[in-house]
């Protein structure tokens, strides 16, 4: 088996503000190995971005890590020295952020925002960094001479490309992409996807693709983890999970996909609303919305059980409902 790059064990994160307390992550277990591409899927508020930020020790104000461990290449991230942490960020693990309109600093050029990574981690001087930044821009499909333009001179899609360029600049071992196409329209999405596929092939970087778009996962990822209310409730290869979803939630997600061809059945809507992190239900977090809910489900938190060789699910019934 390939080396474990990122290993998250039983991560619990709570956000405390004057108004409320939200249990965002309630025992997340996740592993990404070298060369792997994992899709992390779930609705907004499930805890996906929080997981990513926690791995980089960049939880925002008010976020507390209550329990759990995060290891990068065997090293405990929470115990790393400042130098090790800075070396990890932007160099060994890179993150591409969700909203291209807000994730670039408006008063610095795109060249500067790509170059800063190169100067920090590769020790390049300004001239060298500029040259390399230009090359990176070309790689993501932006004209190199736009090095000294400002973010607001680019469209959303192009800004995201700039983000990607900065993300791959130092050839990271793990690339975390947090909903990189959500803020873009469909045609641009396709372009970005193409770009990422190409880079995947060229750079052989591990990928953690955070998204709620199942189509993207099937295009880019081998493995998928489904997140609900701060826990991974199903995990396996994309092929397995998508063809044979076991968890009622996953089923609901897949059933909610409109089909372009074939019979058009009614779309399945998952009854109820997303679990509120401030008031999580007892027992299985999904039980209020599950048509197969039992008494046990209401009281006990189910553990992850293996249902196939590369397919795990967190459910007392193991996802076996119809015999």
């Amino acid at each position: 088996m390939e080396e474990k790059l990122l290993e998250i064990k039983n991560l619990r994160v709570r956000f405390v503000t004057e108004r409320a307390t939200a249990d965002a992550l309630n025992g997340v277990n996740l592993t990404i190995r070298k060369g792997e591409s994992l899709g992390l899927v779930g609705e907004s508020g499930a805890g996906k971005t929080t997981t990513a930020l926690a791995s980089l020790k960049l939880l925002p104000r008010g976020g507390q890590m209550l329990d759990g461990e995060i290891y990068f290449k065997g090293k405990d991230v929470m115990r790393m020295s400042k130098r090790e942490l800075l070396d990890m960020r932007g160099h060994r693990i890179s993150m591409i952020f969700q909203n291209p309109l807000t994730s670039l600093n408006p008063v610095f050029t795109v060249g500067e925002q790509i170059g800063m990574v190169l100067r920090q981690h590769k020790g390049l001087n300004k001239k060298q960094a500029d040259e390399e930044a230009m090359r990176l821009l070309e790689t993501v499909g932006i004209a190199g001479y736009r090095l000294n333009d400002y973010p607001n001179q680019f469209s959303g899609g192009m800004r995201q490309r700039v983000g990607i360029a900065a993300g791959i600049a130092c050839n990271p071992e793990l690339l975390i992409a947090d909903e990189p196409t959500t803020a873009l329209d469909v045609t641009i999405q396709a372009q970005i996807l193409e770009l990422m596929k190409r880079l995947q092939k060229e750079y052989s970087t591990s990928l953690l693709m955070i998204t709620h778009n199942l189509g993207i996962i099937s295009e880019l990822c081998e493995k998928v983890a489904v997140m609900y209310a701060g826990r991974i409730i199903e995990y396996g290869t994309v092929r397995e999970v998508f063809s044979d979803p076991r968890h009622p939630y996953t089923r609901g997600l897949l059933g909610a996909l409109p089909k372009l061809e074939g019979d058009r059945d009614r779309l399945t809507a998952i009854p109820g609303t997303v679990a509120n992190a401030q008031h999580l239900p007892e027992g299985c977090r999904f039980h209020p919305r599950c048509e197969h809910c039992t008494e046990e489900c209401k009281k006990q938190q189910p553990e992850m059980v293996q249902v196939k060789e590369e397919h795990f699910v967190e459910c007392f019934r193991g996802g076996k409902f119809d015999g």
Binding site: L58, G90, S94, N105, F108, Q120, H121, Y150, N152
Partner: protein, 307 residues
């Protein structure tokens, strides 16, 4: 792009100044009081007052007085002061440097202290530094300038005998007035720096920058600082404009012969020419400062010129 922006702003400034000249002309004449009478002892007869009026050109119709005045200004002649009997231009030229000096010293002192304090308070929100910084700001905004001025003199001049109470000359004469004038500004800038910094640090692009492995110190001093500076520059610009108008209270208490004291006197004496030209010069100064502030802002934040 930048150059065109400058031209545009210059054009606007000229128009504004033109309207100010009319406003100044009108306002001082609306105030009750006869300048000719003010120049004579209070027992002057009506004939004497009238003779003085004719001498001062005040018997002519208003539009003629205005044309004469503005014509002079365009030729570089700011008029003759009725109270000083010398050219307004030379009086203002004598006094303006003092105000400029005080303004410059005030800005320097107050920014050198308040920008770092405000930024650090924003970074270390909730800490002791933050608390002290906010206390510093609160006191500065609550204090009356007069009280501060008199207290400064009492403590540093009378009790400690460290600094002179009045006069102009070298640096030591500048310290107390600059601190008195600068403290309220420092208070404001501290607050803006702090809240600006807090807002900036919440932005996604700061998290993204940290995620790139840039050390916090550089993020704060370079990448967040520039963004936080924008509202500060604007506020400082407004205040500088105000100072250029001459801070009357401070100038009077410290016997600092600047433009503020002069303006106060001129209005009291109904010295029309002096008041009009002073207002015009001060407005020009204010407009110039605003222009510079806008240009600085455009340099810091390139989004502005592209609008």
């Amino acid at each position: 792009m930048y150059f065109r922006y400058i031209l545009r702003r210059l054009g606007q400034t000229v128009i504004v100044l033109f309207f100010i000249s009319i406003l100044a002309f009108a306002l001082i004449r609306i105030a009750p009081g006869n300048p000719a009478r003010m120049m004579l002892p209070d027992t002057a007869t009506e004939e004497q007052v009238h003779a003085k009026e004719m001498e001062m050109g005040l018997d002519k119709p208003l539009y003629i007085q205005y044309i004469k005045y503005i014509g002079g200004v365009l030729r570089g002649d700011l008029g003759t002061s009725a109270s000083y009997q010398t050219s307004v231009g030379s009086i203002i030229a004598d006094r303006f440097p003092a105000t400029l000096l005080l303004t410059a010293a005030t800005i320097l002192v107050s920014l050198l202290i308040s920008i770092p304090i405000g930024i650090i308070a924003g970074i270390r929100q909730g800490s002791m530094v933050d608390f002290l910084a906010m206390l510093f700001a609160l006191i500065g905004q609550s204090m009356s300038t007069v009280w501060l001025a008199v207290m400064m003199i009492y403590i540093f001049s009378v009790k400690l005998n460290l600094l002179p109470a009045l006069g102009m000359g070298g640096i030591k004469y500048l310290i107390l007035p600059a601190i008195t004038l600068g403290y309220p500004l420092a208070a404001q800038v501290t607050r803006m720096g702090r809240s600006g910094m807090i807002d900036v640090l919440r932005e996604d692009y700061i998290t993204a920058t940290l995620a790139k492995g840039i050390p916090e110190s550089r993020v704060y001093t370079k990448y967040a600082f520039k963004n936080a500076l924008i509202p500060i520059v604007t506020v400082v610009g407004l205040q500088v404009g105000y100072f250029l108008g001459g801070a009357v209270v401070v100038e009077t208490i410290f016997s600092w012969s600047g433009v503020g004291q002069l303006a106060n006197q001129a209005v009291g004496n109904r010295d029309y020419a002096l008041v009009q030209s002073l207002l015009l010069v001060i407005a020009a100064g204010f407009a110039l400062v605003n222009l510079i502030v806008d240009l600085i802002n455009a340099k810091i934040d390139p989004r502005i010129t592209l609008e």
